[in-house]
Amino acid sequence: MSALLVIEHLHKQFGARHLFDIEHFSLDAATAYVLTGVNGAGKSTLLRVLDGLEPAEAAALSFDGKALALAPYPGAMRLAVGYVHQHPIMFSTSVAHNIGYGLVARGAPKARVDDAVAQAMAWAGVEHLQAADPASLSGGEKQRVALARAKVLRPRLLLLDEPTANLDGAAREQVIALIPTLIAAGSSVVMACHDPDLIGLAGVRRLKLRDGRIEYR
């Protein structure tokens, strides 16, 4: 399996506190990972660093075989890396606009946006929400819309921060059911989570962030 992302000496600190100091971090292409660790270990921060939302230091970085710098965040990674927040926020437009946001931002033609949005809504099971006020969605619906919003961009690497946190019952099961199809679509996926059902998904590799270092399991 070829490496999609390799970072050497990834270091993050907040003030005097060293959150993590990862000597070697690598993710393979088209591979799913769960990222575990105790609360406060830095899982969410690591995902935010990988998506360029949080500054950090790296001695070397290569993405898809190309040597890049982590700062400023490379445009090639911005186009190829997706991120879904633990508590996704919806723009106050429409569900369809939210899902198509990234495509519109990248200048995709309207016909392609409409087509991709319709497919993504069907994939996420949110067609019935097309006319709904995004602010009125439940937690599970928001999470599914956010996954669809990330999926339409066909990311090479998708970062999911606690995708099932704060969900229970059917909402949690609906979100869990979407994850294997995301993985099957060929994206590398990293899920920061504690959910045993996600950790136990077939073919998912385990990463553990402990004491500021990554353990590969």
Binding site: L53, H87, P88, I89, F91, S92, Y101, R106, L153
Partner: protein
């Protein structure tokens, strides 16, 4: 003239369709709205930029934006007068005692209100709006447009407050405009003049217009705040 006589005279002026009265109201609305329209785009962008970006001197920029809210309009008028007077650096524009001069004054007066209110609205916005836009590949301009759309009630409140400030100011319009009848005489400068002449009816009539505008502005603000609360209540 008693107060009742003056109020009766004011209503008579309204009902008679007094052209001088309506001309003053028209000039006030025209100069205020033009100054506001010119100030809004740069002020909103500036307010957003200060709120959304980290740069050296940012705290000073916030301090200056907020302190500028308290600038007396006569001081702004004085500075503009010096700039626009024949010997001043902008004297060649011939804007002193003209409507463009009054508009320039309204522009300067509106800027701090618009900047400070937009800044506060963007600072109060959930950071996930900008992060989500960035994470989905939006350009800096699209991120700004997205965040400003999400704080549109705050931006509209800024515009309404800015209008309230420029329509009701007297010092700058008087100094830069010169209170020329039919040209630069605004509601507030006319009230000052007519009161000094003892013609209270027109002053009261114009004052009633200002009060009506203030009521409309505050009503619009209350409606906006109600909408904003409703929108937040859903999230």
């Amino acid at each position: 003239m008693s107060l009742l006589d003056a109020i009766g005279g004011a209503f008579a002026l309204f009902l008679s369709g007094d052209s001088a009265l309506w001309r003053i109201i028209w000039i006030s609305l025209k100069t205020s709205l033009t100054g506001l329209a010119l100030a809004t785009p740069p002020a909103v962008v500036l307010g957003y930029a200060i709120a959304a970006h980290r740069f050296p001197g940012r705290r000073i920029a916030i301090w200056l934006a907020q302190a500028a809210l308290s600038l007396p309009t006569v001081l702004i008028g004085l500075v503009l007068y010096l700039l626009l007077s024949r010997a001043g650096p902008l004297g060649s524009l011939h804007w002193l005692f003209s409507q463009p001069g009054v508009v320039a004054g309204q522009f300067v007066i509106a800027m701090p209100v618009l900047v400070a209110f937009t800044l506060a609205a963007v600072q109060a916005a959930d950071p996930r709006y900008a992060e989500t836009a960035i994470a989905h590949g939006a350009s800096s301009w699209r991120v700004m447009a997205t965040v400003l759309h999400e704080v549109r009630f705050g931006v509209m409140a800024a515009i309404i407050s800015g209008f309230g400030r420029v329509i009701s100011e007297v010092g700058c319009a008087l100094m830069v405009g010169g209170n020329i009848a039919g040209e630069t005489r605004t509601i507030t400068t006319a009230i000052a003049l007519e009161t000094s002449k003892g013609d209270f009816s027109q002053g009261i009539a114009l004052g009633m217009v200002l009060v009506a505008i203030a009521l409309l502005m505050n009503g619009a603000l209350m409606l906006l705040q109600g909408d904003a609360h409703m929108a937040r209540g859903h999230t």
